[in-house]
Structure formats: structure tokens, C-alpha cells
Symmetry: C3
Subunit: 207 residues, 3 copies
């Protein structure tokens, strides 16, 4: 088991917990909780595998993740009140998942010999799409279009990863450095309520 | 034409009718009715084919299904008032589709040498995703998150299929037995209004 | 660079502009504008590539489109007030994209040796799915279910393409002729407010 595999496990657990808590907040039933946890944890990787043609997709070839998600969801249901009370650490779970899954996606792009800009896009999709599919299934506006600059942190991290990679820095340092970089950006963004600029179209009556 | 092919045809027709009736209830126009019928009937199989890498996906290789869906939709439009009056039999159409498509998905997983738990998941996706995509396109909360324990019946049927398969029971008996099992579960669930447990997170004011 | 490639570039730019304007109308932030422009421009082609198994999908192999979308989106942001004022030409951008992407999809189906009816369906998906995914991400009812007979124009164009193709008319003439045919249909439909018939199900109280 490589360092990469360990990161994959941590990211899967983090996203499964965030998905389960999210589903309980939406008052879904037992099945709904497991489905949302599952989708949040494997959605990004599934989209990545489909886009690059890596089929059967990863979670079908490696069933470890299915058991991890089942365990993490059960854990979330049992300790739901304790976990939610620690709202900051829940936010952290989601952010850890975003950071880890972004680098896994970028790495997959590099392995598939895709160009740097495509690898960065693949990393952002791997990091963000679990949450996007979760929100679409729940009929909400996806997380990436809400205020927190979710995907922007992921893209910035992907660019950071490509730079460190091109400088031939040791792989594990690149992994950890990029993950922490993404987590840091998201924390700063939320703490200082940084938002991206918006561009309105003037209505005709005023022009 | 094998027994398996006949089941595939029956499932496709059943889902196309349920999709068409659903679209007419939502007051979509002629094109919308055909699209929703088509998506409901082929959505699950398409997701299955994409996940296991069976491309071009089935309905592109076997155009029979396209004509079947067209015929079933036309039939539904002509007899729309009669069909809807028989609301029970409509519910039955959808349930028949669920039962048949679940076993087709599980069988596809077994053929692709996937592990039992993955095959069961694939069966549930094949059975449920047509309805999920239909609901997403119509901007509604997907059927699997509403009250009827839709997907749970599918998963229970998948497990039943795997057990019968491992006992080397004759294939056709496994197909019919599992399909009837899924239909039975769903009928019982609706008749006795069985629901899965829900887990609420205590709000902070009460803790 | 063939005539086909030029059409692909024009279609991508047209859809990116329509996506960016659409996102600004929905008051998304800078990142949201780029994402929606990107999804609108590459969504249809991505679905097409996934369905026929052409992976990694096109935009991953040819990064030119990514830069084109970036440029077109930046252009749209800078000239947003001027572009919106020309609402007719915006509608035209979207219609041009629909026309071009439809024929690209049909051509892809022919290249993959799919049957005519499947190629037409593939063309309609390539033309329409960018807009569908854009609308799903924004939590709106997809464009194809609203009034404008969007997809019907695309399907009619696909059939027109197959007829011209079977008559061995020169490729480029087929491309241009079909694209103009689709644009013409959509313009006429909007101008004369043509709608497809609807079929209501009688409510039980009245039967």
C-alpha cells in the first residue's frame, strides 16, 4: 500500500462522512443516507474514470472503498449529534476530501499523458463532482456555484501540483504540499469571506 | 432470441410506458413525451454500459429497443386515458421494469467478472437510474429518495439473485424468481406503507 | 485544418458565448461564468464521446477548444452589455451552435458505423446536451422541455443530413445545408410561435 493509496482512503472516508451528514440534514431515510454518502465519495472519481476511459471504473475494481464508505456512513449515523456539533471539523472533512481528491485527479491526468491544463481540469472535476452530483440528486444548486470558491481552491491546487511536479519535487511532498495548499486556501476564503467578482448585465430599462 | 432477450424487451416496454405516462402527467409536449419515455427506458442500461466500459452503449448497437420505445410511447399516447385509469397496472408496469432491469444489470456485472457486491450495485443502478435521470430532467427530487423504498427492493433482489446464482440454480428460474421477488417487495411496501428509518440531527437549540 | 474543424471551432465559440451570457444573467460569479461557458460548449461532445466510447474525450485530446472557450468567455464578459443588447444575435449564437454541433454528432455516428437512426439521435444529443447540462447545473428545467422546439429542429436536421449523405452529396454542402436548415427551422418556430401538440390525461373527476 503506497502513500497514494492511504490518501485515497482518507479522502474517501472524509467525503463519505460529509455526504452522510449532509443527507441527514436533508432528512433522507436510511437508504438515502447511504446513497448520498456513496455518491459523494465516489462521484468525482467515477466522472474522472469515465472521461479518460478507465473502465470498469475504479470502485468496481477495488471494492475496499465500498466497505470504507459503508463503515464511515454507519459511524456518521451513530455519532451524528457529536459530529454535527463539531461543525468546524465537518467543514474540515469536506475540505480534506477536496484537497486529496484534487491531487488524485491531477495525478491520473499525468499518468494518462494528458496536457497540464487538462490534468488540472481533471483534478478539479475529481475533487468537486462528488459534491455536484450529490446536490443535483437533492435538487439543489450545486456547491461549486455557491459562495465558497470551492472549485477555485481546487484549480489553484492543481496548478500548484503541476508546478511542483515539473520541478521534480518528490512525489509525496507534492501530494502533501498541494493538499495543504488547497485546505489553506479554502480556510482563508471562508474566514475572510473572500468572493470572486460578479458581472451583471445592465437591464435594458437602465441603458 | 433467448429468454434473457425477451425479458429485456418486456422491461423496455414497461419502462417506456411508465415514462410516457409520467411525461403526460407533467404536461410536456409531444417531443418531451418521447424523450422522457426514451430516457426512462434506456437510462439505466446506458449508465451501466458506461460504468463497465461497454461502448458504444447497448441501444446504439441494437436499434430494436428504439423502435419498441417509439411503439410503446405511441400506444401510451393513444390509450392515455384508459392506461391512467388503471393506475394500479401503471404502478405495476414501473415495478415490472424495475424487477427485470435489476436482474439484467446484475447479470451484466457477473459477465464482466465483477465482485458480487459490485454486481448488486450495478443491478440497482440499471433498475433505478432510468427513473432518476427522468426526474432530474424534470427538475424533481429523484424517485429513489421518495417514500417507496424503490431502490431497496432492487438491492434486495440483487442479493437474492447472487444467492440463487451461487447455488447454481437454473438461470431462467433465477431470472423469474428474482424479478417476482422484487415486484413482491415493492407491492408489500406500498400496501403496508413500510418506510425506512430516518435519523435526524438534533438542532443546536435543543442540545 | 479541414472545413469540419472550422465548423467545430465556430460551434464551440458560439456555445461558449451563449453559456457565458446565460451565466451572467443568472448572476453567477467569475468562476461560475467560466464553468457554465465551458460546460455549454463541451457538454454535448463529451456525452457523445462517452456514449460511443471515444475516450479520453475530445476536449482532453485537443486543448485548442479550452483556449477558445476561455477567450470567448473573456470576450463575453468585457462586451456583456453590448452583446446582450443584441438579443437577436445572441439567440442566433445559440442556434448556430445547435446547427453545427448536430452535424458534428451525426458525422461521428456515421464514422462509428452506427445505424442512421442512432446517428440522428447522437447528433441531437451533441447539439442539445450542452444546454441540458447547463440547465441542470443551474437547477432549471432543461431547455429542450421549454417551448422552442429546440431538439425537434436538431432531429429534423439530422434526418436531412442522413438523406443528403445517402444521396452522396458533397460533404461540405451537406454540412452547410443541414446547419442552415436547422437554423431556419428554429427561426421560423420562434417567429411564428409554433408549438408541438400536448396530450393531457383526463383527471378522474371528469371521467
Amino acid at each position: 500500500m503506497t502513500f497514494f493509496d492511504i490518501l485515497d482512503i482518507l479522502g474517501t472516508i472524509a467525503f463519505a462522512i460529509s455526504g452522510a451528514l449532509s443527507a441527514m440534514n436533508r432528512k433522507l431515510d436510511l437508504f438515502g443516507i447511504f446513497i448520498i454518502a456513496f455518491v459523494t465519495a465516489i462521484g468525482g472519481g467515477t466522472v474522472r474514470d469515465i472521461l479518460i476511459g478507465n473502465t470498469p471504473v475504479s470502485w468496481m475494481q477495488n471494492t475496499l472503498n465500498i466497505y470504507l464508505i459503508g463503515g464511515a456512513t454507519t459511524f456518521s449515523i451513530i455519532f451524528r449529534n457529536k459530529l454535527n456539533y463539531l461543525k468546524t471539523s465537518l467543514f474540515l472533512f469536506d475540505t480534506i476530501g477536496l484537497g486529496i481528491f484534487t491531487i488524485i485527479g491531477v495525478e491520473a491526468g499525468i499518468q494518462a499523458n494528458l496536457q497540464p491544463i487538462v490534468s488540472v481540469a481533471l483534478g478539479a472535476m475529481t475533487g468537486c463532482f462528488g459534491g455536484v452530483i450529490r446536490d443535483i440528486l437533492c435538487n439543489e444548486i450545486p456547491v461549486i456555484f455557491r459562495k465558497e470558491i470551492y472549485a477555485t481552491a481546487s484549480i489553484a491546487g492543481g496548478i500548484c501540483f503541476m508546478i511542483m511536479h515539473s520541478l521534480s519535487i518528490h512525489q509525496n511532498i507534492t501530494y502533501i504540499g498541494t493538499t495543504l495548499f488547497i485546505i489553506l486556501i479554502r480556510l482563508l476564503v471562508v474566514k475572510y469571506q473572500i468572493t470572486l467578482p460578479m458581472f451583471y448585465i445592465k437591464s435594458k430599462t437602465s441603458s
